[in-house]
């Protein structure tokens, strides 16, 4: 890590709190623009709720389309946070520090966005209470626990709760730093949120243990969430291409692939906006890219399993489905794009150190991965519905409508906007962690774990 500059605590505080303290024009213009997109999308959704789902491109037999694709996509992105923070934290991977907060925040906001999708998809969001809450309304029936659509909100809610806790616990020391440097309403807010953090040894110890415990708890949840999402499809007995036997691990690994890529994209963008060149450094990108090579290749292996095991069955409708995916426009175009974008371009490129250490290349490849992974979900969900069973009489297709495209586009704007707003209030790179990385030599033993010594504010 040769190019590393030794930074003073004061520099670190200044740089990493810059996003929260300064008010550049570009920031508000950007947030405003993103906000506008989100408002337009709310309008579109309102129009859809009013008119009915007829304004989408959904039809019989393709009753699930862009909204569900986007749901799966954002759930996938949300897997970045945990993958990076929890695993790396448990593994004490050194290079994780600058990435963790961005990853966790991305997790929380993409989960929230993902959860909007089924609500919009169902078309009458005010009815959702019947569906989600295990409460016997006046109807005398509880939600049906046999339905994967009840497992889904349960898993996602759990994941969301634990992710928020995860972010929050890591954030407490940083909030205290901010508290000590602000006045007015911000000071009040930070004071409340800092929970009286004074940086005592006991507090650090508790914070660290809580972080590690949550990491360990959250890992099974993380695996379960995308497994359960895959069961939304796998539970369907009659949709070809939806009941591949490897769906659960295939979905989980795919989620990690797109999630980690998403984190890299976000980190690079923030690095540019907030001038964090000294914190998000080339060796971080390098390490993440190496991780991505492994994840992507594992994912690709599952993709092959999924595809070929489908073919092995020799079932006519299954073959017809694969034929549609691979040979029939526009599906063939999506199919080829998705394979190239999410594997065949990025992975060979990542083999080169130059690429791994290039901000520009990494931005390009990671965006490509997510374009590909979005299409992957689309390719899994829609063709299966368009080729159900042997009923070629009803076979159809699907073209999304403007309303769907606007809403889908706006989810990206929404996540960006939320991250930016978050950056306005909280530091996006963990100050404490970074300092810890700098002052690594001062450490004490806590049980079996080595804990850094106290770092006091000047």
């Amino acid at each position: 890590m040769q190019e590393r500059v030794r930074l003073t605590d004061a520099e670190i505080n200044r740089d990493l709190l810059r996003s929260t303290m300064e008010n550049p024009l570009w920031y508000w213009l950007l947030v405003g623009a993103l906000g506008l997109i989100v408002v337009v999308a709310f309008g579109a959704a309102g129009y859809m709720f009013n008119k009915g789902l007829g304004v989408t491109g959904l039809n019989r037999p393709v009753m699930w389309g862009f909204f569900i694709t986007n749901f799966v996509f954002w759930i996938g992105i949300s897997h970045a946070g945990v993958m990076l923070s929890a695993i790396l934290r448990l593994a004490q991977a050194e290079w994780r520090r600058p990435a963790t907060r961005a990853a966790e925040v991305l997790t929380v906001f993409s989960l929230m966005t993902a959860m909007l999708m089924p609500l919009i998809h169902a078309g009458r969001p005010w009815r959702v209470a019947y569906w989600v809450f295990p409460f016997d309304w006046a109807r005398g029936v509880y939600p049906n626990v046999r339905s994967a659509l009840v497992w889904d909100p349960a898993a996602v809610f759990t994941y969301l709760t634990s992710s928020i806790l995860f972010v929050y616990i890591a954030l407490v020391p940083d909030i205290a730093v901010a508290r000590d440097r602000t006045t007015g309403w911000r000071h009040v807010l930070y004071t409340i949120l800092a929970l009286g953090w004074r940086g005592s040894v006991r507090q650090w110890k508790l914070q660290l243990i809580a972080g590690i415990l949550l990491s360990a708890i959250i890992l099974p949840i993380f695996v379960s969430v995308h497994s359960i999402v895959s069961w939304d499809f796998g539970m369907a007995v009659s949709v070809e291409g939806w009941h591949s036997t490897v769906f659960a691990p295939y979905f989980v690994i795919g989620a990690v692939h797109s999630g980690v890529s998403g984190v890299v994209t976000v980190m690079i963008v923030l690095r540019y906006f907030f001038q964090w060149q000294d914190y998000i450094r080339h060796e971080h990108l390098d390490a993440l890219a190496k991780l991505l090579i492994v994840v992507a290749t594992a994912w690709f292996f599952f993709f092959l399993l999924e595809f070929f095991f489908g073919l092995y069955s020799l079932e006519a409708p299954e073959i017809a489905l694969r034929e549609m995916q691979v040979f029939q426009a526009p599906w063939s175009i999506y199919f080829v794009t998705f394979l190239i974008a999410s594997y065949f371009i990025p992975v060979p490129l990542w083999l080169f150190k130059k690429v791994r250490r290039s901000v520009g290349w990494m931005l390009f490849t990671t965006i490509l991965v997510n374009v590909g992974m979005w299409l992957e979900r689309f390719i899994i969900i829609v063709p299966g519905l368009a080729r159900k069973q042997n009923f070629s009489f009803t076979w159809g297709g699907y073209t999304p409508s403007a309303v769907e495209v606007i809403i889908i586009g706006a989810t990206f704007a929404l996540v960006c906007m939320l991250v930016l707003l978050f950056a306005k209030i909280f530091p996006l790179i963990p100050i404490g962690d970074t300092k810890e990385g700098v002052v690594l030599e001062d450490s004490i033993q806590v049980g079996k774990v080595k804990v850094p010594a106290i770092m006091r504010e000047d």
Partner: protein
Amino acid sequence: MVQNRIDHKWGMVIDIDRCTGCNACVVACQAENNIPLNTEDRFRQRRAIQWIHIERYWEGEFPDVKARFIPILCQHCENAPCEPVCPVYATYHNNQGLNVQVYNRCVGTRYCANNCPYQVRFFNFWEPVWPESLRNQLNPDVSIRSRGIMEKCSFNVQRLRRAERIVEGQQGGRISDEDLSMGNFLPACVQSCSTSALVFGDFNDPNSKVSRMKEEHLHEGGRGYKLLDFLGTEPNVIYLSKVDPYATDAGDGHA
């Protein structure tokens, strides 16, 4: 108090060798069940609703071409894939063999439609509208489904309930085939089918025509079969095969 509640298992036998593809059943069902008007746009958007519909499959090339018709409606599966996936029990199995749909409970996930192998579930993508005067025709026994709600063949449960009240409530005896047809309790599609390709009745009643037909046809080598039987959905609808003395290819399916 009802002492002797009679258990039914309603079902249908559909002889595709009789069915001519005339679509009378389709329109009859629309009239009976307040199905929204299927406008040109709804067909173009592939959102037309037909609880019973006729599928037409081609075979061969001119001049040895065949077009085969099959009426498809909810199979009222005993082991219905649409039921467990509904998060709100808007579709459930009742104790009479019916797969019923509770409109005001449905939240519109469309999961059940994905999971129905027979594609007989129809979603109200639009609010149903009728010109004021046409509303006079609407059947007061059947609720109108608003946008965002799934619907499908109900085996005309409104007629079956009426039959139970009138026949069993008054006389105490099991509803017979004759009661069904005399009292206009037969499903509208069955009633209209001029070739009698559709036969409706109670599989729990050994004397019913459907029971006798099941006995006669549903066995190895017989004409009876259940649609996509290999899925294990256990439909309450039995099909009788098309007879074709000039069949070019009897099929290699696993049905």
